[in-house]
């Protein structure tokens, strides 16, 4: 049981320097958590600004320039500073070595370096924010990005640097999974969170360098006019899109795979049920990671790329739907004959099943060659990827935070408040984004500051208004969560070592864990989800 006099990783050693120079994966995870939450708050601020501006047609309170910078910063911050590092670098860093029964990740120094590199990249993004902002959209499409006079260089350089932090985390995870598993733990005894993180790390290692070279070339294009993207110099701007999406589509799976990985944990643990189709879920993570590399062109169906490559990309895109569908059905079936506790993390897991299904199904519209033509670059796309990124990843992230919070800090938050806030999130999210599907298929284009010039302005206004109010409810939900989680640190009840009855290694150590993770070397006694063999009272 939790014992204040015991030395845990949070309290020992003490002092700010012991944190800044720590090599402990748990502390680095928490430092990452703090950093990404700050980024999330910043990104959320911009999102609310956008929604308020779109409440009514015409200019509300910001001009076009400001609006353009807002959506660019919202996108860039949320993608590069929040979602990509969110689950792997914060929760993954904390949990992965614990789940494997290892003392640390394979390269603790690299891990710390990754945090500092992240902070450096964030500084560059911050700098570009204060030196006039960026107005290209987070995709930095050439040739606009090479022509605009805003601080594209510092922003892309920031993203370039952030790539290294992502690569470092990826390398660390792959090596840790290969070499640091507890004695006797085979690949098929690993928790599914580890499988998902492993697949994610593969993408981080394989795709991020291409983003690096792309952004570097974009900077060279802007500074030195090397002429490979610039049509005026004989270059081809569509090539930039190829290069950009070669990273950024797999990056979508960097974002969602860890979310899926968390859901596998949450569902099994909170339903006290052996996970259905363990191997298929594990394989499908790897399959999604690999297939994800060959579908980037489905972002370019109307970009003027050849019909032949559009066909190839669309065909492969549909194959991704299959492992994704398998996962969803497997999670749903896991619930059967379980003993389901309606805890806050479980509510997020159930919400994930519903919201991610919507995100996935609407992806089929966009993957179908002809259908994408109407929907491309409209709010349909915006709604689709928010259902995947937010309804998927962020919901899973929230579930994960609630799931591991007692383990990380040894304190239990107020479950009733947790469920209360969940309702805000669920309702607010759907209010914000569901009507955007209709908005998009009716033709409302994304990245529009003003929609008063259309014949259908009144229709758009109704949908946009609904969205904006939803966003406010969503914002309130996040504030409530922040409040009760912070409050729990001060007056939360001791959580105990294993509040949910988890069977993976991290629940077998104290909460919070000691610096060396385990008092004694952990020994594998059962599989990660053997709820049919281990009595709940024995856990």
């Amino acid at each position: 049981m939790y014992n204040d006099t015991e030395k845990n990783f949070l309290t020992h050693p003490k002092g700010i320097m012991s944190w800044l120079l720590t090599l402990d994966h748990k502390r680095i995870g928490i430092m990452y958590l703090a950093a990404i939450l700050a980024a999330f708050a910043a990104g959320g601020f911009f999102a609310l600004g956008l929604r308020l501006e779109l409440l009514n047609p015409g200019k509300q309170f910001m001009d076009q320039d400001t609006y353009n910078k807002f959506f660019t910063l919202h996108g860039a911050i949320m993608v590069f500073l929040f979602i990509i590092p969110s689950i792997p670098a914060a929760l993954g860093n904390f949990c992965l070595p614990l789940m494997l029964g290892a003392k640390d990740v394979a390269f603790p120094r690299l891990n710390l370096a990754s945090w500092y590199v992240y902070m450096l990249g964030a500084m560059f993004c911050l700098y570009s924010l204060f030196s006039g902002g960026v107005d290209t959209g987070w995709t930095f499409y050439s040739p606009y990005s090479t022509q605009t006079s805003t601080s594209v260089i510092s922003m892309t350089f920031g993203a370039f640097i952030l790539g290294f932090s992502s690569i470092f985390t990826g390398i660390n995870f792959i090596v840790t999974v290969h070499k640091m598993r507890a004695p006797g733990m085979t690949w098929y005894q690993m928790p599914l969170f580890v499988w998902g993180s492993y697949a994610t790390a593969m993408i981080q290692v394989l795709a991020t360098p291409v983003l690096g070279i792309t952004l570097l070339l974009l900077i060279m294009e802007k500074v030195g006019g090397i002429g490979i993207f610039d049509p005026e110099m004989g270059g081809d701007p569509v090539l930039f899109q190829h290069f950009f999406w070669f990273y950024s589509h797999p990056a979508v799976y960097i974002m969602i795979l860890p979310g899926m990985a968390i859901i596998s944990e949450l569902i099994a643990v909170h339903a006290h049920k052996k996970i259905f189709g363990y191997r298929l879920i594990a394989y499908s993570s790897v399959a999604i990671a690999l297939l994800g590399f060959f579908v980037w062109g489905h972002h370019m169906f109307v970009s003027g790329q050849s019909e032949f490559s559009s066909m190839v990309f669309s065909f492969i895109t549909f194959f991704i739907g299959i492992p994704t569908g398998i996962k969803i059905f497997n999670w749903m079936t896991t619930l059967v004959k379980g003993s389901i506790c309606w805890t806050t993390p479980m509510l997020y897991a159930l919400a994930f099943l519903i919201l991610f299904t919507i995100g996935g199904l609407t992806g089929i519209f966009l993957g179908a060659l002809g259908l994408d033509i109407q929907l491309h670059d409209t709010y349909f796309v915006v709604a689709h990827f928010h259902y995947v990124m937010m309804g998927g990843t962020v919901i899973a992230f929230l579930g994960g935070i609630h799931h591991w919070w007692p383990k990380i800090f040894g304190k239990m938050y107020n479950e009733n408040l947790g469920r209360f806030a969940f309702c805000f999130i669920f309702v607010g999210f759907n209010m914000t984004f569901f009507n955007q599907f209709m908005l998009g298929s009716q033709g409302m284009p994304r990245r529009y500051h003003d929609y008063s010039n259309f014949l259908k302005t009144d229709l758009f206004e109704r949908y946009h208004g609904f969205s904006s109010y939803g966003a406010m409810i969503l914002g309130v939900g996040f504030v409530i969560i922040l409040c009760y989680l912070v409050a729990s640190l001060f007056n939360g009840k001791p959580a105990g070592n294993n509040p949910w009855g988890g069977l993976t290694f991290e629940w077998s150590t104290t909460s919070p864990p000691p610096t060396e993770n385990f008092k004694d070397d952990p020994i594998l006694k059962h599989g990660p989800y053997d709820y049919d063999k281990v009595l709940p009272k024995d856990i």
Partner: protein
């Protein structure tokens, strides 16, 4: 084919097990002759590839030949100097995955850049043939 990949899989799994008992550390030392031999082969192949570039095979023949020789040289470096032949096959696997990804990247991108005239010739050719800088250059000369 399938059973082959399975057995590789098995080997990978086995070789990456972390066993509880502590293992001695034995470096794998290759005889000097291997390094000298591979080194000389690389020198000779460099000569061959330079020589081959002066023979016009026609079409993309020269390119293919040059890449073939480069690949032989590359394999020699990877297999012997980088010990892929002797080490855990996991390293080779990761290295191959990177090469496969790279090939896929190039090939699939070229599905687009090479086939833009799939339906209409008009769409593949640039509106403006040469870059603006040459205009300025000409002006400058005048």
């Amino acid at each position: 084919m399938e059973s082959g990949s399975k057995s590789i899989n098995k080997k990978l799994m086995m070789s990456t097990e972390t066993t509880p008992k502590h293992r001695e550390f034995h470096p794998h030392i290759l005889p000097l002759s291997v390094y000298i031999g591979v080194g000389s082969a690389l020198f000779i192949l460099t000569g061959v590839t330079v020589a081959a570039s002066f023979v016009d095979i026609g079409g993309v023949g020269n390119l293919i030949l040059a890449l073939l020789i480069a690949s032989i040289k590359g394999s020699l470096v990877a297999l012997f100097f980088m010990h892929l032949l002797y080490d855990n096959k996991l390293y080779a696997l990761f290295f191959c995955v990177s090469l496969i990804m790279l090939t896929a990247f190039i090939v699939i991108t070229m599905f687009d850049t090479m086939r833009r005239d799939g339906i209409y010739e008009q769409r593949s050719s640039p509106i403006q043939i040469s870059a603006d800088i040459y205009k300025n250059m000409q002006k400058h000369e005048e």
